[in-house]
């Protein structure tokens, strides 16, 4: 397991308390799990995804991520409708471990309320939370 100062926490995304990141790319917001989450889970073997068109509110469960011996729910950092899912994760769930912010992204959503993105934590705020834990 990594030490907190070893974690990769990019500046250009927002973080949720459930160790997920969210980043706006214009029309939609892209979501994935962060470096802390993938490190804690270990080798990821399966990502349970929603379907395109599914709608979830903020903090609702939209999917799950599994390692050999553990399962964790995935929560919506912001509410919205699923516009795209990363189908590459079906055959290669390890992408989440290798590149959690890049090719290991999970879903893209059309948001109901774009201010919810601003309510998420910046890197500094998130780091403080991790150090407090």
């Amino acid at each position: 397991m990594k030490e907190i100062n070893e974690l990769k926490l990019p500046e250009d995304v927002r973080y949720s308390k459930d160790h997920e990141w969210a980043k706006s790319n214009g029309e939609t917001i892209r979501i994935g799990v962060d470096d802390y989450a993938q490190d804690q889970l270990g080798d990821i073997v399966f990502v349970g995804m929603p379907e395109v068109g599914d709608k979830f509110g903020k903090d609702e469960v939209f999917g799950s991520v599994e390692s050999v011996k553990a399962v964790a729910d995935l929560f919506m950092p912001v509410g919205g409708e699923v516009a795209a899912i990363n189908t590459a994760l079906e055959d290669a769930p390890e992408l989440v471990n290798q590149s959690p912010y890049g090719v290991g992204w999970m879903i893209e959503i059309k948001v109901d309320n774009s201010s919810e993105l601003e309510e998420l934590m910046t890197k500094e705020a998130y780091l403080a939370v991790l150090q407090g834990e």
Partner: protein, 487 residues
């Protein structure tokens, strides 16, 4: 490694292929009976090609499984201190009794007057279990512990329904076995978790805070999965009963308290037992088992049907119990397993069964005392029949519970239960059982001490373990990413 400690090292290892990698078309291992009638026509549209099975001779099959057996560690191979599983010796006389042709050839739908011997056995077994637990009525129909838990939860559901209530929650301690909340969920009850206190047991105050009239009751394990007696159980039961709830007891740890504790007296209304744990029936690599359910008198009407009843000198199966939760099995449960437990109970008798618990608890406390400075003891209190350590000390050398467990195999022992209960990080749960003699327990203790030393001085030995068995650590990640379940 000290050769005096290392025992049960693997002998001959043959690399035996899979069944369909062997054999030759046209071989057969079966003695086909004579075809003494004509062949009758059959619509060819219904006929298949037969399954794609390999063709093997009797010798092929016997060698195959004999070789496979050499890669397995059983209780008969060596000490198997799996916490929560009670891996005690499985007496072979039990096997003799279960294979008597009268029992093994009995068809379940025989006219009941022709099946008196097996019905009497079931009835007597139920009476014995009632005596042992202190509860009133028993069913031996559930075929596993989890099946017994489901039975218990269905009884809860029916009981509350019979009183015009629909209770949606059930209290489950954080130390509970996963089958507890899973069984509750099957009955559409939502588990409400409650934390144990700093002594590792349930706190009446915490229960009182969450118990209400929408809670069906509580599921407790006593002794609990930390190997500790739930000292506040009577108070907890009173709180639950006061709000109209029921108390379910997971009796997986019954081996610690036979002849000592009265499960009825402590407030348990429904209790399941595991014949394949406490009552010596073999685990079989994962089953078959039996999970009898014992209840207080007022819950007897809800027991599954058919029930074995006594009608003067005869025994019968009766279904006329209108409040019963119904059937849980196509027939009456795992009679073959019941016969073994019944034989065990009669072989031990009351005096030896009590001794079983006394010795099981002695063995566990002895190990606890001897290892408590080598491995971190989760709760430094008297334990029952099992004790829980953790890898806290070894983590300083970046050695985990998993590494310790794998290295123990090289010393000729089956590892204890690891990473359960979840409330202890890196848990190592050791349950020696009463059938382990002092020398083997001392050898186990020496092995654990040697491993702890290796963890400090030569941790690579642990990380690369095991090296003695047929295979070393397996890639479970790929097995889960790209499952290959069929050959």
């Amino acid at each position: 490694m000290n050769d005096n400690i290392k025992q049960g090292a693997t002998g001959l290892i043959m690399d035996e292929p899979l069944l369909w990698e062997k054999g030759k078309k046209g071989r057969i291992g079966f003695s086909l009976p004579k075809a003494d009638v004509d062949a009758y026509p059959l619509d060819e549209g219904l006929v298949g090609h037969g399954p794609d099975f390999p063709d093997l001779s009797e010798v092929d099959v016997v060698r195959h499984y004999t070789r496979l057996s050499q890669w397995n560690f059983g209780v008969d191979t060596g000490m198997y201190p799996l916490g929560s599983c009670t891996m005690k010796y499985n007496p072979k006389t039990n096997e003799r009794q279960a294979s008597l042709p009268g029992f093994s050839n009995a068809h379940p739908l025989l006219p009941q007057e022709m099946a008196q011997g097996v019905l009497k056995m079931m009835y007597d077994l139920e009476r014995c279990l009632a005596d042992i637990t202190g509860l009133d009525a028993v069913t031996v129909q559930p075929t596993a512990g989890a099946h017994g838990e489901l039975c218990g939860m269905l009884i809860f559901d029916s009981y509350h329904k019979s009183r015009g209530e629909r209770r949606s929650k059930i209290i489950v301690p954080d130390t509970a076995h996963g089958t507890n909340p899973a069984s509750a969920a099957l009955c559409k009850m939502t588990p409400v978790a409650v934390k144990s206190n700093e002594n590792g047991i349930l706190d009446p105050e915490r229960i009182a805070a969450i118990m209400d009239e929408d809670t069906a009751g509580i599921m407790v394990t006593n002794p609990n999965t930390l190997g500790l007696f739930e000292g506040n159980i009577k108070a907890v039961a009173a709180i639950v009963h006061e709000k109209g709830g029921l108390v379910y007891g997971d009796g997986a740890n019954m081996n610690a308290v036979m002849g000592i504790v009265d499960m009825g007296r402590i407030g348990i209304d429904v209790l399941h037992l595991n014949l394949h744990k406490t009552f010596s029936t073999p685990h079989g690599g994962g089953g078959p088992g039996t999970g009898p359910v014992c209840v207080k008198k007022f819950l007897e009407p809800f027991l599954p049907i058919p029930r074995v009843v006594r009608q003067s000198e005869m025994f019968a199966l009766r279904e006329d119990f209108p409040q019963s939760i119904g059937r849980l099995h196509a027939f009456y449960g795992n009679v073959g397993v019941m016969l073994k437990a019944y034989s065990y109970i009669l072989s031990m008798g009351p005096e030896h069964l009590k001794k079983v618990s006394q010795l099981a608890v002695l063995n566990a406390n002895y190990i606890k005392e001897k290892l408590k400075n080598t491995f971190h003891l989760a709760y430094d209190r008297p334990c029952m029949h099992e004790c829980v350590f953790s890898d806290k000390i070894q983590q300083a050398n970046k050695i985990s519970t998993l590494d310790v467990a794998k290295r123990l195999m090289d010393y000729g022992f089956h590892p204890p239960t690891i990473y359960f209960p979840l409330v202890v990080n890196g848990a190592i749960m050791v349950e020696p059982t009463e059938t382990e003699c002092k020398e083997d327990i001392d050898r186990f203790i020496e092995a654990m001490k040697a491993i702890a030393k290796e963890a400090e001085q030569n941790p690579e030995l642990l990380r690369n373990a095991p090296t003695t068995p047929k295979v070393n650590r397996l890639d479970e990640t790929s097995a889960a990413r790209k499952p290959c379940l069929t050959g």
